[in-house]
């Protein structure tokens, strides 16, 4: 699953940065444990030595983790800063979560159950829930935000490649929670525009139809 935005790339970097350090430390800890257990095994009849502690060592292994974790924090925080500041020129789509489906509404009132967006253009998603908590999650873009009644949440992204990706609900919301999937379709800008115009026209005709029947 390749990352599909600069934000997703920064998430992947922070992830592998922490995994790398953690893995190295885990190897050291595990190796030392196993090594000591073998080297100082009671079967070798060697007398144990009482060592009550070592202050410089304690300071070192407190300070080094502090520095490492501060670095980890830094990358996570910088990435998040990016996510919480959508560009001014973002296209806004309102996403409504309800048990158990998503509906996307564009600023001209056009509704869709699949999220069509143009590639390389910032898209801001306003998140609205009409019943319980949901969470809007696009794994390919590494973004997620809870959808909570009475709360105005949003997220934004700028996809770098076209394609069709899953949108999942990540906050437990009852019986059909695991079926609350939909798709985000990222298309080239001209394709998106023609879809948007078509769909809008279709919507307007249906609207006039219903009014004429009345």
């Amino acid at each position: 699953m390749f990352p599909n935005s600069t934000y997703a790339e920064s998430v992947d970097f922070a992830f592998w940065f922490i995994v790398g350090i953690s893995f190295a430390l885990l190897v050291v800890i595990s190796f030392l444990m196993v090594f000591f257990v073998i080297k100082y095994n009671r079967k070798k009849q060697v007398k144990a030595v009482n060592i009550h502690g070592n202050l410089p060592l304690e300071i070192i292994w407190t300070l080094i983790p502090v520095l490492l974790t501060l670095a980890m924090f830094y990358f996570g925080w910088m990435g998040y800063q990016d996510l919480s500041n959508p560009p001014e020129d973002s296209m806004v789509v309102k996403s409504t979560g309800q048990m158990w489906k998503w509906t996307y509404e564009y600023d001209n009132g056009l509704k869709s159950d699949t999220l069509y967006v143009p590639v390389n253009k910032p898209v801001k998603i306003d998140l609205v829930s009409v019943d319980v908590n949901h969470s809007f999650y696009i794994p390919a873009l590494r973004i997620k935000r809870d959808v909570i009644p009475n709360r105005e949440n949003f997220l934004w992204f700028k996809a770098e490649n076209t394609g069709s990706f899953d949108i999942a609900c990540a906050e437990y919301c009852g019986l059909q929670h695991s079926y609350m999937y939909s798709k985000v379709v990222i298309m080239p800008e001209n394709e998106f525009n023609s879809w948007f115009t078509d769909a809008t026209n279709k919507m307007n005709t249906t609207l006039t139809d219903t009014t004429s029947i009345k």
């Binding site: 699953m1 997703a8 920064s10 998430v11 922070a14 992830f15 922490i18 995994v19 430390l25 800890i29 595990s30 030392l32 444990m33 000591f36 100082y40 095994n41 009671r42 007398k47 144990a48 030595v49 009482n50 060592i51 009550h52 502690g53 070592n54 202050l55 407190t62 983790p65 502090v66 974790t69 980890m72 924090f73 990358f75 996570g76 925080w77 910088m78 990435g79 998040y80 319980v132 908590n133 969470s135 999650y137 794994p139 390919a140 590494r142 973004i143 997620k144 935000r145 809870d146 909570i148 009644p149 009475n150 709360r151 949440n153 899953d166 609900c169 990540a170 437990y172 009852g174 059909q176």
Partner: protein
């Protein structure tokens, strides 16, 4: 267990004591801290088996996409009940209520806890809470399906039996508070003469910081659940968004308790490890004060990081910054503990008996749990992996790999003292290795699929995740085999195991190894006077005086 008639070596053991009534009555109304510990142990293990069964069945359902053995409603109830039972009825009482009760007074050189009758009341509240949780399954309306987190607004909307489940958690909270209150008072008031704070065993330090969290944090969940009960029953507007409430505020209050609760679960396990490692390395613990103070530090900082469970709800930037930063810093005292444990193995005389194996596995698995905790504490990464099976894997590594293995370590370590029986060492080791392998096969794939985007609490999943789910389910079978071997070994030991009155089978130096086996009714004929530190191992020093370093 009641069929004990161990030889009387001129004293009355707590197992033989006949005071108030006989048989069952002499147990369930006993105020003796050791009997109460055993009562907790029995109750807790029964709930553990039930919880494991739910987990096993869920894993079986997930072996393939689509319906395998149950419908989604049943699955949703199963993960809720699995969570409620494992957290409130197994891990939280696991170490403090069982081994804290049994060994804390002995390790302090006391005859009992400060309030023995209150102690018995705690156990009864625990049982009442457990019964309420069972009622929540069988009442019409169907088993509760909110997840153990009871998030608003789903928990005021669903028609299932939320009410008894909330009440159960509320009552269990009180049981936990009373235990904590009892332990804090006991540690302050009943230390034997000469036992100053830095002569206390490290298990006592860990129970002390745990007990404080129990007293201070639990009321918050009590009141929060009570508010939800009122909200459901009488239509008050508190958290319900339809009445203007804020569902996020519920989450805040829930986690103000439930995050420190994680430390209620893990700190005592760390205490057990700090006991076991010096005994089986046969040398003094490395960095006693650092381990002791890190328990307090974890308790303190642990109460400041709750909102890292809520990074995706849309908190303010300031809150995100603070909670993420503190989350990283709370890892430091845990790291310090791990380093000190490993250093304690250095130049020891190590005997690889089952308790040590469990302790080493604890360090390994808890480290993985801790490191993956760092990954989640990172804000941008959290946006991706929050509420995926990555989280499920992480907290099982901490809760099961950490606390669960800590409980098993404690059982193997203290079993001979508690029951005056020997278990089979070989079976214990076989059981351990199968359990260890099964554990990793079961939970590690969840990290991978979580990173790939598999959300948690999913009854069904997309086909691309099937291979990981399949491996994980196979892991659950291996793990359960290990558990069966372990429990069969204990049951066999209880019924047919070799009786032993050996006072100190492992060569421990804390006080519980200096009372007879099984311990007498009031632990000590005469309260001991403490002159030395808990982990002396003076016999090491005779030939090695020149290498000895003093802190």
């Amino acid at each position: 267990m009641t069929s004990h008639s161990s030889s009387n070596n001129g004293y009355e053991s707590y197992l033989d004591y006949r005071g108030k009534g006989t048989g069952l009555k002499s147990w369930i109304f006993s105020t003796d801290h050791k009997r109460i510990g055993i009562l907790y142990l029995i109750a807790m293990l029964i709930f553990f088996v039930v919880g494991v069964t739910f987990g096993f069945l869920m894993r079986l359902e997930l072996i393939a996409p689509g319906k395998t053995i149950m419908d989604p409603q049943t699955y949703n109830s199963f993960f809720t009940l699995h969570g409620i039972i494992m957290i409130f009825l197994f891990i939280i009482p696991g170490l403090p209520a069982v081994f804290g009760n049994f060994f804390l007074p002995i390790m302090l050189g006391a005859k009992d806890v400060s309030f023995p009758r209150l102690n018995l009341l705690s156990w009864w509240l625990f049982i009442i809470g457990g019964l309420l949780a069972i009622i929540a399954v069988f009442l019409p309306g169907g088993p509760v399906d909110t997840g153990w987190t009871f998030y608003i607004p789903y928990s005021v909307r669903t028609s299932t039996n939320v009410f008894p489940a909330l009440l159960a958690a509320f009552v269990l909270g009180f049981s936990s508070i009373l235990t904590g209150l009892n332990f804090v008072t006991t540690i302050h008031r009943l230390r034997a003469p000469g036992m100053d704070w830095f002569k206390m065993p490290l298990f006592v330090w860990s129970i002390y910081s745990t007990a404080w969290i129990q007293v201070l944090a639990t009321p918050i969940i009590g009141i929060t659940l009570l508010l939800v009960i009122f909200e459901r029953a009488f239509g008050f507007g508190i958290f319900d968004p339809a009445l203007g409430g804020d569902p996020v505020l519920f989450q805040h209050l829930f986690w103000i308790y439930s995050h420190p609760a994680v430390y209620i679960m893990i700190i005592p396990a760390m205490g057990v490890i700090s006991e076991i490692i010096p005994v089986f390395a046969h040398r003094t613990i490395f960095g006693y004060k650092f381990i002791a103070f890190s328990s307090i530090a974890i308790a303190l900082f642990g109460s400041m990081v709750w909102a890292h469970h809520m990074f995706t709800v849309g908190m303010s930037g300031a809150a995100m910054f603070i909670f993420s930063l503190l989350t990283f810093l709370v890892a430091i005292p845990s790291a310090v503990k791990v380093f000190n444990w490993v250093a304690t193995l250095y130049k020891g005389s190590i005997s690889t008996d089952p308790p040590l194996l469990y302790a080493l596995a604890f360090i390994f698995l808890f480290s993985i749990g801790g490191f993956t905790g760092l990954i989640q504490g990172s804000l941008s990464v959290n946006m991706h992996i929050h509420d995926t099976s990555f989280i499920v894997a992480h907290f099982h590594y901490v809760m099961f790999g950490g606390t669960g293995f800590g409980i098993f370590a404690a059982l193997h370590y203290w079993f001979p003292k508690m029951f005056a029986r020997k278990y089979n060492m070989k079976s214990a080791k076989v059981g351990f290795w199968i359990l260890f392998v099964g554990f990793n096969v079961l939970y590690f794939p969840m990290f991978v699929m979580g990173w790939l985007g598999m959300p948690r609490r999913y009854y069904d999943y997309l086909p691309e995740y099937q291979i990981y789910h399949f491996i994980s389910t196979v892991g659950s079978w291996i793990l359960i085999t290990g558990l069966i071997i372990m429990f069969a070994n204990f049951i066999h030991a209880l019924l047919k195991g070799e009786k032993t009155n050996e006072m100190n089978p492992w060569g421990g130096e804390t006080l519980e190894w200096h009372v007879p086996t099984p311990p007498p009714l009031e632990n000590f004929d005469e309260i001991p006077i403490i002159e030395t530190d808990p982990y002396q191992y003076k016999d090491n020093d005779l030939s090695n005086t020149e290498v000895k370093e003093v802190n």
